[in-house]
């Protein structure tokens, strides 16, 4: 068993039996391979269902807003950053949330793995061992390098260790030193029509299920702009302009708050790379204001503050 799993269970049992928290939010094994479920353990016995593997993609900070009582959350680097976001945005007090930090080696992208099994076959089991992933099905078994199967956001992740936690279940992992925006730079170097075509093509399969919004820890508004009717900011149909407007406004609402956790992309049933919208903004926020979301509970988000000499080269 993964030592992280053991440590998470031990921490959860301790916190629950000592009555320090009412619930531990973590993951349990899914009913189908490659898909874990968020799990809410309320008793030390239930804590035995908690697990940790490479399929813990859901960002558990999503479940914090409007929740009562004391809670503990199993948090990867990105989840912990989103918890800090919630603290900064007054969604929860620091003393009500206990962060069980998990230094994270990245989560896998099911589509990449599914593309490597024989056509027409279904994966019925996945096992992990020492950086390798083996998936099995009715008539096959394929072993893959986990590093090659990671989600794109995990590949370029700069904060694999939780910036703040109440306890860590493993030694911190080394941070990667990759340029997170290399592919975006290449895209931005293209002409405007080419970029527009790229983005239009990106969302052509969107079915407007709003899973990207609902899986996002930042999207906790009581009434989302897509549900506003007077005025109606975005049409409800499959019209390409409305689909694009939804994606633009969704991304903009995450500006300066997004941790690039990839929950939106992992939730998408159509495999749309919705992070390509939010990343443009995060790059801009980082370059212009030197800010990355969720690294400190004391730093204000960039759109809630200003400096007298903020850049304004485009303003007449």
């Amino acid at each position: 068993m993964d030592t992280r799993t053991e440590k998470i269970r031990a921490a959860a049992k301790r916190l629950l039996s000592e009555g320090k928290v009412d619930v531990v939010i973590g993951y349990r094994a899914g009913t189908v391979p490659l898909r874990n479920a968020p799990y809410f353990a309320r008793t030390p016995q239930e804590a035995d269902n908690l697990i940790w593997d490479s399929n813990c993609r859901v960002n558990l900070a999503t479940f914090i807003p409007r929740r009562q009582g004391k809670i503990a959350v199993v948090a990867k680097g990105c989840d912990a950053r989103n918890i800090l976001n919630h603290i900064v945005e007054n969604q929860i007090n620091r003393d009500r949330v206990y962060i069980i930090g998990v230094p994270c080696e990245g989560m896998v992208e099911p589509a990449l793995i599914e593309a490597r099994v024989p056509e027409g076959q279904t994966i019925t089991e996945m096992v992990e061992d020492n950086g390798q992933i083996t998936v099995k099905g009715r008539d096959f078994a394929v072993t893959l390098e986990k590093a090659e199967m990671l989600r794109q956001n995990c590949r370029v992740c700069q904060h694999r260790n939780p910036p703040v936690s109440d306890e860590l279940v493993a030694e911190p992992v080394p941070e990667t030193a990759v340029d997170p925006y290399q592919d975006l730079e290449e895209l931005l170097a293209k002409s405007e029509p080419e970029r527009w075509d790229y983005y239009r093509e990106l969302v052509k399969d969107c079915i407007r299920c709003y899973a990207c919004r609902d899986a996002c820890p930042l999207c906790y508004c009581q009434v989302c702009f897509v549900d506003e009717t007077q005025p109606q900011w975005v049409g409800k149909s499959q019209d390409a302009t409305d689909v694009m407007t939804f994606h633009l406004l969704r991304a903009y609402h995450c500006a300066g708050r997004c941790t690039d956790c990839g929950a939106c992309e992992s939730a998408c049933p159509m495999g749309i790379k919705v992070r390509q919208f939010t990343r443009v903004l995060e790059k801009s926020v980082k370059e212009r204001y030197g800010y990355e979301a969720g690294l400190s509970p004391d730093e204000k988000p960039p759109l809630t503050v200003f400096l007298p000499d903020d850049p304004q080269e485009f303003i007449k």
Binding site: T31, A37, A115, Q238, P269
Partner: protein
């Protein structure tokens, strides 16, 4: 009705011989951007080795966005704001390779869109103009539970022609007069031998045997609506539900929609779009009251509708066909099989 054999190598000839009959096109399963979709394509691109289409085929007859009525919105103009029918009489289409669960879903939706009280013309016209050739599942997926939901890998309802994959050949069995007529006009067919039918029967038994996952529903019928409504397990389900629309939009039997008017540069359209009961706006009243005010009441609605309300109204028929799409695509792994087991306990 006589059955036929179609060699897979003759599929192109078969499709081309029918192309003239179907000005609306011949649609089949094709691989697009890594996903199986139903689309018009060259016959050689049609795939017969897939598991199921990524999304349900309900949009064949119930598109996600559909224009219903039109009007001009220039006050003062003659006929302004008078709603007119949208003139788009559907053309005859042939659909190949539809899985039995999805075909069964059309039967479920028929009872909703075209019943003795009301017939929805938008659904009915398209349904009428389409001939469906199914494709039985020799190898059901681990998430399939069709056999528990009144369907099955070789289920016949909802198709005009049933097709069984016999390796290098397909066994085609007409199930309706519409299907028989089409096969009579098609080329590339030879009569089926008793051995072929026996082989199909064998495959059917094999396929059904691979679905070991039984999801019983008999007890749901025995429990009262209020008992199910107040069951404690909804608290567990709702806790991780995101209230997104994935399960509803990928579901072959979810059929709720919302009607809106849109006006652009003087031209108005009344359209209907898919809608989903997980959305708070779905039940929001003009007064501000919302009868389903929380996550729990919304997620409960989806399961209660399929497994209690529809059976109550439709003489026990379940509103789910067991295709398993919602299981594989739910972002938080809410497994309908487990929910139904809880409801049935």
């Amino acid at each position: 009705m006589a059955s036929y054999i179609l060699k897979k190598s003759d599929l192109a000839e078969f499709v081309e011989s029918l192309a003239g009959e179907f000005p609306g096109g011949v649609l089949g399963p094709v691989l697009q951007d890594g996903k199986i979709v139903l689309a018009a394509a060259e016959p050689r691109e049609f795939r017969l080795d897939f598991q199921n289409t990524h999304l349900s085929p309900k949009d064949l007859f119930f598109p996600q966005s559909e224009k219903m009525l039109e009007f001009t919105a220039n006050p003062g103009e003659e006929g302004a704001f008078i709603l007119e029918e949208v003139k788009n009489q559907p053309q005859r289409r042939l659909v190949l390779g539809l899985r039995p669960c999805d075909a069964k879903a059309f039967v479920v939706l028929d009872t909703i869109f075209t019943n003795d009280q009301y017939s929805d013309p938008y659904w009915a016209e398209k349904r009428e103009a389409t001939v469906i050739i199914g494709l039985d599942c020799n190898e059901p997926c681990p998430t399939c539970f069709c056999t528990s939901m009144g369907s099955g890998p070789f289920h016949e309802e909802g198709q005009d022609v049933q097709a069984v994959d016999l390796g290098d050949r397909l066994l085609l069995k007409p199930l309706t007069s519409k299907g028989e007529e089409v096969l009579k006009k098609a080329q590339g067919l030879t009569p089926a031998a008793p051995a072929d039918k026996a082989r199909a029967q064998e495959l059917k038994q094999q396929a059904e045997a691979t679905i070991t996952d039984e999801v019983e529903t008999d007890n749901i019928a025995a429990r009262t609506v209020m008992e199910l409504f107040e069951a404690p397990h909804w608290d567990e389900v709702q806790e991780r539900c995101l209230n997104c629309g994935v399960c509803t939009y990928v579901c072959p039997t979810c059929h709720c929609f919302d009607i809106q008017d849109e006006v652009h540069e003087g031209k108005g359209v009344r359209l209907r779009n898919w809608d989903y009961c997980m959305s708070w706006l779905f039940t929001q009243h003009g007064s501000g009251h919302n009868p389903r005010p929380d996550k729990k009441s919304r997620v409960r609605q989806r399961f209660m509708h399929k497994f209690k309300y529809i059976p109550l109204k439709r003489e026990g028929a379940i509103g789910c066909v067991g295709c398993g799409r919602c299981i594989t695509l739910c972002p938080v792994n809410i497994d309908v099989r487990d929910v139904v087991r809880d409801m049935n306990s």
